[in-house]
Symmetry: C2
Subunit: 299 residues, 2 copies
Amino acid sequence: MKEKILLSGATGLIGSAVFNKVEAEYDVTTIGRNNRNDILADLSKPDSFANLDIERVDTLIHCAGVVDEDFKENPEQAFSMAVLGANSLVEAAARAGAKKFVYISSAHVYGPMIGHVDESTPVNPISDYAIAHFATEQVFRRKANTTASVLAVRPCAVFGHLESPGAFRRWGLIPFSFPRDAAMHQKITIRSTGEQRRNFVGTEDIASVILSWLKKPKLGFAAVNPTGSTSCSVYQFAQLCAASVKERYGLDCEIERVTPDGRTVGDDFDYVSLFSSARGQQSLSSFASEFMTSLREAL
Amino acid sequence: MKEKILLSGATGLIGSAVFNKVEAEYDVTTIGRNNRNDILADLSKPDSFANLDIERVDTLIHCAGVVDEDFKENPEQAFSMAVLGANSLVEAAARAGAKKFVYISSAHVYGPMIGHVDESTPVNPISDYAIAHFATEQVFRRKANTTASVLAVRPCAVFGHLESPGAFRRWGLIPFSFPRDAAMHQKITIRSTGEQRRNFVGTEDIASVILSWLKKPKLGFAAVNPTGSTSCSVYQFAQLCAASVKERYGLDCEIERVTPDGRTVGDDFDYVSLFSSARGQQSLSSFASEFMTSLREAL
């Protein structure tokens, strides 16, 4: 009999990659507020989880954490979802027997993106977004003990296939906005020097990290930094997008840096994992190129 | 000219001791929701801080963090106060020029009270209460930089003079409930083995730690564990209260332990500070004895 996974955020950026990665080997039940889910539930209404009739599950994977946009729209509700909503989901899964819990958190829980950061770096969440993600990690960590395992997954800059780019609302993320701006407007605007470094990790690599953990979960709590094969500055990523649109479509893409001069805090950011199994291999340049093509073909 | 302090929670357990300790040397303005404060403001209404006309301040001391009772009454509002409310207060103080920020947090941010804990121990807030206190610390920490100083104060079991015991609502705290139960009912009930250890710290010692930091603040962020001279088990503290009521009033006090047997998680808890200046000297037994007297005299 297949192990059962309860998955939130299955239609989202990371959740859809997780779904695709695990569905062959696991029996997956999706949970969320849109009606493409097997179980309808809304993190902004924690009480609604109290009477959910979830059949036995082995694992909860929560890919529907708060996003930046939640804080712009309703910060009070965002914190409530991050703590009380997540707690309702965790408790519902625990009542159904779950002993493995995975939460997609964020590299922002380490604080300002400067210097060397690996899993031994102390947490220091600064923004509302980061504080909320850390709070959710801790709600999950409550379940870590001598018979149950909790994993917090902390990606930096995430890229990956979008099932429906038209419904995507997270264009604040540069792995998506830069290729879009290069392909559609032939102009990328960087509101800084662009010298701050990022690690770019693909959603399939993130899903692989989760899949291998599921097969060998460590009892108690662990955090992991899933890392991609490309670490570069924001400006270098813009250059990559510009080169790609030139090569593929012969278009010249302008890169504007609003403040091109001066030393940038974070030009030394080095985001790595202590675990070789957390180091991915998806190609950032292939993603950018294919994403630009999909956008232009949708015209 | 005296330096100016903006103080919240000035009528509370710790805040009143801070007020008494600093008022001779500093110009103190109190802020809070009851009308004994100089400035009226309510953390549960973050927007109300936007237009506060606070004159120049040098230091914010926030002694009105969330308490356990807030989570029982309205957990959503408690998180909102801990993050958004605290942020409004911090920003109002910063606008008025504050460069020193002190927040009374809790030992619970370190997580389960087991083993050795000092300021180098990684944080691991588990309960809603602990997560909220850590979130507030981080809201304060946002202000830490090369020209501003932030101190998070993390006491364990706090005792001290109550200005109005009749208005006190935090009887879940054993430094108050045990002396009360010994003096008034001659029976102390412990809902466990009572073998878990606590460090008991007086409010005047906490205020002294803050006062010395104010005179020599370290730029950036620091956390400190103000520690009292008595560390003992909960059961030993109950015995101290029983002995005191016997000695002073000749009354026999029963101590009931609901689960007297078995190994207790936390019987090895050793809560200390790396800083000698954070080690206090107030007497727990004198406090318990005097507190019992004040309660009996109020009869």
